[in-house]
């Protein structure tokens, strides 16, 4: 397929939202599940976008911004891979192979953008001297625009210049053993995301719950939603039964009781 001008404009607008969303990390428009779906919708193949989004979302499950560290760029990866897959009429596996190098490149761009914004911070210091409220607010939001362009410029360039034959030629140049290997790897690389989440959540004495999930997941054919429900129940029961959480209240009750007793004793003594 070829992309119309309207579609290029829509991709520019959405990739701005996506780029801003990826630094904000609030509404999650930068996550593959949302970004691929919307780009797919713009290009007229929402189903392919949704499936690619779901696939990439699982890979990116652990990609998160914590503290000053930032993750691979899911925004740029989602938008560009969806464009190439839909326009070039490629398979989902091909999409993964495209998305990951783009995510790595995007990470570099992110570091660059977050360094540029130091200048906005200093400009705000100056504006504060004059109690210039509107200027501070304007600076805050202009910094967001840097992040929007970080994703919008590369994405729009790809959308404007890509052609189906180009994508086909590019992918044909890759030998068969590599594409087959990438498909195999696609099933494995999700563990990197899992490992990132697990490292953050790791509490040794709670690991039995991880293994419980692992064993149940291996033998039971439930949906993930059902497993989520079981996990929630386990969490609630665990907190309710945990003596560590019951203690302070009990202790408070006893100490209150003792005080009352003492007072009673005092009165009796009198």
């Amino acid at each position: 397929m070829t992309i119309s001008t309207l579609q290029i404009v829509l991709i520019f607008i959405f990739s701005c939202i996506c780029g801003a969303g990826s630094v904000l990390d609030e509404f999650q428009t930068h996550r593959p599940l949302i970004a691929c779906t919307i780009v797919g919708l713009i290009l007229g193949d929402p189903t392919k976008g949704i499936i690619l989004g779901g696939t990439l979302e699982l890979i990116a499950l652990g990609w998160m911004n914590i503290g000053a560290a930032q993750s691979p760029d899911s925004a740029l990866a989602s938008v560009i891979s969806t464009i190439l897959v839909v326009v070039g009429n490629q398979s989902i596996q091909e999409g993964i192979a495209i998305a990951l190098p783009v995510a790595a490149a995007g990470q570099v761009l992110t570091v660059f953008a977050r360094t540029i914004t130091v200048a906005f911070q200093h400009a705000a210091d100056k504006a504060a001297e004059d109690a210039n409220f509107n200027k501070i607010i304007a600076l805050h939001f202009s910094a967001l625009f840097v992040q929007a362009l970080r994703v919008a410029i590369p994405s729009t360039l790809v959308a404007a210049y890509v052609s189906p034959t180009m994508v086909q030629n590019m992918l044909d140049a890759i030998p068969d053993v590599v594409t087959g290997g990438l498909t195999v790897a696609g099933g494995m690389i999700v563990v990197v995301g899992y490992a990132m989440v697990l490292n953050m959540m790791y509490v040794k004495y709670l690991m039995p719950f991880f293994f419980l999930g692992f064993i149940l997941g291996g033998y039971l054919d439930f949906s993930l939603l059902a497993f989520g429900g079981i996990g929630l129940i386990l969490a609630i029961v665990y907190v309710q039964l945990n003596p560590n959480f019951a203690k302070p209240q009990a202790a408070a009750a006893t100490s209150a009781g003792t005080v009352a007793d003492d007072e009673l004793d005092d009165e009796l003594d009198d």
Binding site: T117, A124, A128, A143, G186, V191, V192, L212, G213, Y238
Partner: protein
Amino acid sequence: MSEKNEVIKNTKITKKDMLQTFFFENFQQASFNYERIHALAFCVDMIPTIKRVYHKKEDQVAALKRHLTFFNVTPAVCGPVVGVTMAMEEAKSDGEDIDEGTINSLKIGLMGPLCGVGDPLIWGTLRPITAAIGASLALNGSVAGPILFFVAFNAVRLALKWYGLKYGFQKGLDIVHDLSGNLLPKLTEGATVLGLFVMGVLVTKWTSINVPLVVSSTTANGKTVVTTVQDILDQLCPGLLALGLTFLMMHFLKKKVNPIVLIFALFAVGIVGYGLGILA
């Protein structure tokens, strides 16, 4: 305590100020920078309050500068800090004896415990679980996947922001006492149990590793029974290779290896394994 409640009852902060602050709170990382992280965002969060309670220019300048210092907390749980700081700024403007140091140290003091609950709750539990459930629907091409993820995640996030802000503002300084109670550890532990359980399910259910190497091939009664390495592993327990690989990745990540490097290393393993016929 009763004295504080009176201050809140007579607050000068209007509903509009609260809503405006809530709006700004949704842009907590807009000016994310390596020098002071969310400093500028926090200052913007405070602008409706500063405008409302301070009228002299030098007071406004001092308040703005006070809130242009380093700040960093999981965006979804910034509400309580912003709320309590609003309450303190208002009390200060009313002539209460609160110095800059108190406000700053309270902000810094709340950052730790709130990140401690925010990171595992939001990035470790809420997002991976809503995203994984959404993705599991999306893999079949269902638009319910992305919609479910978007709605569920944002409903919880916006509720945390709004009620967190109100809670922080109403409680004022009492919040420090509240937070040192049971609520935060309960939330953190509960979220960790849920998060770990679902990650366990994901490791075995959503990872596909297949080792088709043939161990034995026996022919009995004209039927050929082929046993591969994968069959033997699956008989022990499904998903063992995925589990081992996950722990290996956790080990490398702890050694500060960049996740992208690990992803490309697994690509290489996939290509070599496929080429040699060990993986399929």
